[in-house]
Amino acid sequence: MTKWVEQPLSWENVLIYALLSVVFLLLILGYVTYAILFERKVLGWMQWRHGPNRLGPWGIFQTVADVLKLLIKEDTIPHKADRALFILAPALCYAPSFAAIAVIPYTRELYFADLNVAVIYYAALSAISTIAIVLGGWASNNKYSLLGGMRSAAQMISYEVPLILSIVGTVMMTGSMSLRQIADAQGDWFWEWNFLPQIIGFGVFIVAAVSELNRTPFDLPEAESELVAGYHTEYSGFRFAFFMLAEYVYMFAIAGLASVLFLGGWHPPAPFLDFIPGIVWMILKMAFVIFFLFWLRATMPRVRIDQLMGLAWKVLVPLAILNVFVTAVCLELFIKG
């Protein structure tokens, strides 16, 4: 990838890039399809049942069939909904999620964009999806959707602060905001990865990320027992699928970020495991993070909205700031001095 990224822009390059994007989009769709199956299987195993097992061996076509069903479903728009915004919201939710993953490097060579402000770019784009969720809740003209959308706005805005602050420590250690350089700066032994020196940052990052993803135990916007389905109560068919798609793509992005920022990216856990290509390590690490999210879902009850906000502002933000401070002091005293 490096050679195309660094070349001057030509028609050939644009064509290659466009094609690669389409290939990547398909890969991501494939990932989402099987992430959903994997989630259902993992949940099934943890709950002493089989999970999907009817469609194809091991249920491998289950999600395909589900997506097909969503595609051919009647597209309903509530009579009193704000039509334009109602249609806009799912697209506005999905598009930034896909754009955000452009900055994630998979190996030293395989990446789509090597921005020098990648961290900020990710935060900025993922914030757009929050707007889409509020929009969807508002445009549905449904009280449950509205409550879900409002909760979501409060939650995602609150958790973006600790999420970004938790990354700052890592950025300071590397001296760069490019995700590729952050991953590259980590060593080949697993204790040389960022999660050990940045253990507070890593903890804050994981908690904030789970919340940012609206997953259990922070799945308040779609708390089905009180708000029916939250902001997407009125959505059906493929518009609903787009919200779901965005959620799983963000999960991919967060898994990628966690791997690159804290878990050493494509580096193997020990130098002698070098013969296994970096992409395998990267995929394994991402899969582990994603599995962790599913695991949480099978274990935890949901926190309450006020407890959630309290956790963000009273615990996570001070911790993240403390982490930044400690990192700065340590860098000044031991590394530079």
């Binding site: 949940l43 943890m46 709950q47 002493w48 049942r49 009280k143 449950y144 409550l147 259990t216 135990p217 799945d219 308040l220 708390a223 089905e224 027992s225 009180e226 708000l227 029916v228 879902r297 099978a298 274990t299 935890m300 009850p301 949901r302 926190v303 309450r304 909205i305 006020d306 407890q307």
Partner: protein, 366 residues
């Protein structure tokens, strides 16, 4: 100045966590509830009126459908009332069978409550675990009487079916298994920080309020009132067994949870003793006239169902059908405190409080 309005929110009758067809009309100020009005009656079938044109054996299936999560205790309360009016002796073996199924039913019913309560609070797995265990009980009931939910098992004077060969041994194996599982579930849920934060100090009331509202069962015991009809007014053969009545202290959702959880353990304790003393042979039906005609007069009996005090009031004019039949349904009485508890709480606490009361809409509407 921003102009704000109260939001009138209609929760139910089709809502995932009202456990049936309860409708709540809420006035919300932001997420805070300022007024709550439960609307009931969506499942009303007129059981009590229908009973007036049925003979007593025919009423038993109707009691199954009142509190469908705990059909055995409902069966019992009706049979018990008629037996008391007519002075029928129930044979020993039938008494034991009745007690065993009632205690198993209590465990099954509390399991359903435990699972759905945690599902309401957002934890998904306990629901499936609970139903897996309940399935074992339901299968045992299926072997015993051929039904999984509406058993129609008890008759005036005894029980319809004797235990099939080997059934008691299966129950004997079930008890230690369930004890082990309960241990595991306690570790999974009862100490979870998120769970504790959701239920501790939520939906609090004191003993005086509980009694004033006519609450019974775990809803009363969570305030520290030690009132269990199995102990205080022993019926069936409960006076022969040793068990404790768990009580709470604070009267919050957490205490209600712990009381119910402990009750499952106590039920297992009763089951263990009952199986040891189970008579190896004997009749399962007492001497009952062919047509059941209680003498003219009235009677009221009450027993401890998993949800609280279930009572049956029969007025007889000496005919084969009751002149008037009235059930005191614990869910209906327990539900009354809901509007009082909800005011000033948020939408999220609504779920924790409503689930904590443990009502079954089939019984509320009857």
């Amino acid at each position: 100045m921003i102009r704000t309005e109260e939001l009138l929110l209609n929760v139910g009758p089709q809502h995932p966590s009202t456990h049936g067809v309860l409708r709540l009309v809420l006035k919300l100020d932001g997420e805070v509830i300022t007024e709550a009005t439960p609307v009931i009656g969506y499942l009303h079938r007129g059981t009590e009126k229908l009973a007036e044109s049925l003979n007593y054996t025919q009423i038993i299936p109707y009691t199954d459908r009142m509190d469908y999560v705990s059909a055995m205790t409902n069966n019992y309360v009706l049979c018990h009332a008629v037996e008391k009016m007519m002075g029928i002796e129930v044979p020993e073996r039938a008494q034991f069978l009745r007690l065993i199924v009632m205690e198993m039913q209590r465990i099954a019913s509390h399991l359903v409550w435990w699972g759905t309560y945690l599902l309401d609070l957002g934890a998904m797995s306990p629901f499936l675990y609970a139903f897996k265990e309940r399935e074992k009980i339901v299968s045992l009931f299926n072997e015993l009487c051929g039904a999984r939910l509406t058993y129609n098992y008890m008759r005036v004077g005894g029980v319809k079916w004797d235990a099939p060969p080997g059934w008691i041994d299966k129950v004997r194996d079930f008890v230690p298994y369930m004890e082990k599982q309960l241990e595991e579930y306690e570790q999974l849920v009862s100490g979870n920080e998120i769970f504790l934060a959701r239920v501790r100090g939520i939906g609090k009331y004191d003993a005086e309020t509980a009694i004033a509202y006519g609450l019974s069962g775990a809803n009363l015991r969570c305030t520290g009132v030690k009132w269990d009809l199995r102990k205080n007014e022993p019926y069936c053969i409960y006076d022969r067994f040793e068990f404790d009545v768990p009580v709470g202290t604070n009267g919050d959702c957490y205490d209600r949870y712990m009381v119910r959880f402990e009750e499952m353990r106590q039920s297992l304790r009763i089951l263990k003793q009952a199986i040891e003393q189970f008579p190896s042979s004997g009749e399962t039906m007492g001497k009952v006239p062919r047509v059941i005609r209680p003498p003219a007069g009235e009677t009221y009996v009450r027993i401890e169902s998993p949800r609280g005090e279930i009572g049956c009031h029969i007025v007889s004019k000496g005919k084969a059908e009751p002149y008037r039949l009235k059930f005191r349904r614990p869910s209906f009485n327990n539900l009354q405190i809901l509007p009082k508890l909800l005011v000033g709480e948020t939408m999220t606490n609504l779920i924790a409080i409503m689930g904590g009361i443990d009502f079954v809409l089939g019984e509320v509407d009857c």
